[in-house]
């Protein structure tokens, strides 16, 4: 009943190529690019810790106020978020979650080590104001950003150390973030990354991607690429009303849709079974889940 998702792992090792010349085995070769001459080893080591998916604009509520956390400075990140991307992300988060953003909640902007000029700060403020959120205070570890914010008339706190106000995640990264709720259509080119579960009320179009450390729920049509349990959690699941993805990934497993799409779609759940990613009808999945739990309770 459930569509058969074939494995992807063999896709890189298709055989029957021409015989190798120049000493390269064409069927099975390893190809690496030369290291960037500008990046020294030292820098590479420095940028490594930033390669986690938690790199996008993020809201957090904390004791009656809203923390707006900006991604780290692009020059130190392997997955950099430049100002234009940042602005798009902020807009999307504001419009996608507006029903849960209580108007007049004071916002504290955590700029981390990003360089912001006064114009950019004013633009952020304007976007927040449109959502009726007052920008109360700006935290930055960069002097220039702090000065720019102060000149623009905001109250500023220049932090020299991290590990304060929702920045503790840099140090301790075992706990996931609260689920990210988005009421929006994710269009081609949009990438949502989140250190937790992602819930989308809307469609995920082809060319969009969601990378979540937790589960992914799509209350709509899933047609893009989604990666649940991106940190390696094989228990994570992907659920969609209309499961027609370009590609599904859970932890380190990859699957793609069958060549022939089913005649009609029903809500489905993707999970890791004994032999890779499996798909089950949502109704049947709930039942199938029960027996696994029951015997432990029944057995004395």
């Amino acid at each position: 009943m459930a569509p058969d998702f074939s494995f992807m792992q063999d896709s890189q090792s298709d055989s029957s190529g021409t015989p190798a010349d120049g000493g390269v085995n064409f069927d099975n070769f390893i190809l690496e690019i030369e290291p960037d001459p500008e990046t020294t080893q030292e820098e590479a080591a420095q940028t490594k810790p930033e390669s986690n998916p938690n790199l996008q604009v993020q809201f957090k509520s904390e004791r009656g106020r809203l923390l707006l956390l900006l991604p780290p400075a692009p020059e130190k990140s392997r997955n950099p978020v430049y100002w234009e991307d940042l602005r798009d992300q902020l807009k999307r988060r504001l419009s996608g979650g507006e029903r849960f953003l209580q108007p007049h909640t004071p916002v504290h902007l955590i700029a981390r080590d990003r360089l912001l000029n006064s114009q950019q700060i004013q633009e952020i403020d304007a976007m927040l104001s449109d959502a009726q959120l007052p920008l109360k205070r700006i935290y930055s570890s960069r002097r220039q950003s702090a000065v720019a914010a102060a000149t623009a008339g905001y109250s500023v706190e220049q932090q020299t150390t991290l590990g304060h106000l929702g920045q503790g995640q840099e140090a301790s990264r075992q706990a996931m973030d609260e689920p990210l709720y988005l009421q929006t259509t994710l269009r081609s080119g949009v990438e949502v990354r989140h250190r937790g579960t992602v819930i989308v009320l809307g469609d995920a179009n082809p060319g969009s991607s969601i990378v979540a450390e937790g589960d992914i729920f799509i209350w709509g049509r899933l047609r893009g690429v989604v990666h649940a349990g991106a940190d390696g959690n094989r228990q994570c699941r992907i659920m969609a009303l209309h499961m027609q993805p370009t590609q599904l990934r859970i932890a380190d497993q990859v699957a793609r849709s069958p060549e022939d799409p089913p005649a009609q779609y029903q809500p489905e759940v993707a999970y890791i079974g004994p032999d890779g990613i499996r798909i089950a009808l949502a109704a049947e999945f709930a039942l199938a889940d029960l027996p696994a739990n029951l015997p432990t309770q029944e057995s004395p």
Partner: protein, 267 residues
């Protein structure tokens, strides 16, 4: 010595990606080892035309970021294992990669592949500069339209300024009937302006749309369409074979129309 060829046009929508996909596939069919590189970061399409979208795991950016090796990012075509695609990232802008990084990617590809086709984005900005950074040859794709030819002319100038001297022309979407009626620029008209060697002429063909939507390049068809034959011819000329230049244009069309008239087929 591998051949590194950039497919570019200046103007958008003239068929760069279609040409790249078909030419790459035709070369691979002829036994060449071909890597097609999508340099259109942010608006990638080449994977769709090749029908490989759902097989992409890593992109060129992941290779540059050190997330994976280059061979892991290459998507081998299941129909034609001689062909591999290096996909672009869809979620980034064209500024997210530098010409120097492009060179490193291409340089590594030359160790395994003897043809590297780079699908350039439209325009002459950063994306274009990235795509030509490593190229040693160029194929200009244009349609017989005044705007496309104007842009192609500008691009040829830019390529020459960047020391890419081997520049050849593919005229795409030619409609012989319209040329005969003097409603469309002829091959001669286009060549007269651009004055670079002609590599081939691709007739306008509805099959192209069908093949694009199916993700199967025309040159894979059992029975080749006219455009499919034209692409195959271009690939043969690219490999140095002497294939007579398209008797497809006006004389052949007249022949066809005469044939059609003979059999009473209305076109």
């Amino acid at each position: 010595m591998s051949r590194i060829i950039v497919m570019t046009s200046g103007k958008g929508g003239v068929g760069k990606t279609t040409c790249t996909a078909n030419l790459g596939m035709a070369l691979a069919k002829a036994g060449q080892r071909v890597a097609v590189v999508d340099a259109d970061f942010g608006l990638r399409n080449l994977d769709l035309l090749l029908g490989l979208e759902n097989r992409i795991v890593y992109t060129a950016l992941d290779v540059l970021a050190g997330e994976c090796r280059l061979d892991q990012a290459l998507v081998k075509d299941k129909r034609q294992p001689n062909l591999a695609l290096l996909p672009a990232a869809q979620n980034r802008s064209k500024e997210s990669i530098k010409p120097e990084q492009m060179k490193r990617l291409i340089k590594a590809l030359t160790k395994v592949y003897n043809f590297i086709l780079i699908d350039s984005p439209a325009g002459i900005e950063m994306g274009f500069r990235n795509s030509i950074a490593a190229a040693r040859e160029a194929i200009i794709v244009t349609t017989p339209e005044i705007s496309a030819v104007r842009d192609a002319d500008r691009v040829i100038g830019l390529l020459e300024a960047n020391d890419i001297k081997a520049v050849r022309l593919v005229i795409n979407r030619l409609r012989p009937a319209m040329v005969a009626a003097e409603q469309m620029m002829s091959v001669k008209d286009v060549q007269g302006i651009l004055s670079i060697p002609l590599l081939g002429v691709i007739p306008d063909d509805e099959q192209v749309i069908v093949s694009t939507n199916k993700g199967e390049p025309l040159v894979l068809d059992e029975k080749l369409s006219k455009a499919g034959i034209a692409f195959t011819n271009v690939s043969q000329r690219l490999q140095g074979e002497k294939v007579p230049l398209m008797d497809l244009s006006i004389p052949q069309d007249n022949f066809f129309t005469r044939l059609k008239r003979l059999f009473g087929v209305s076109s």
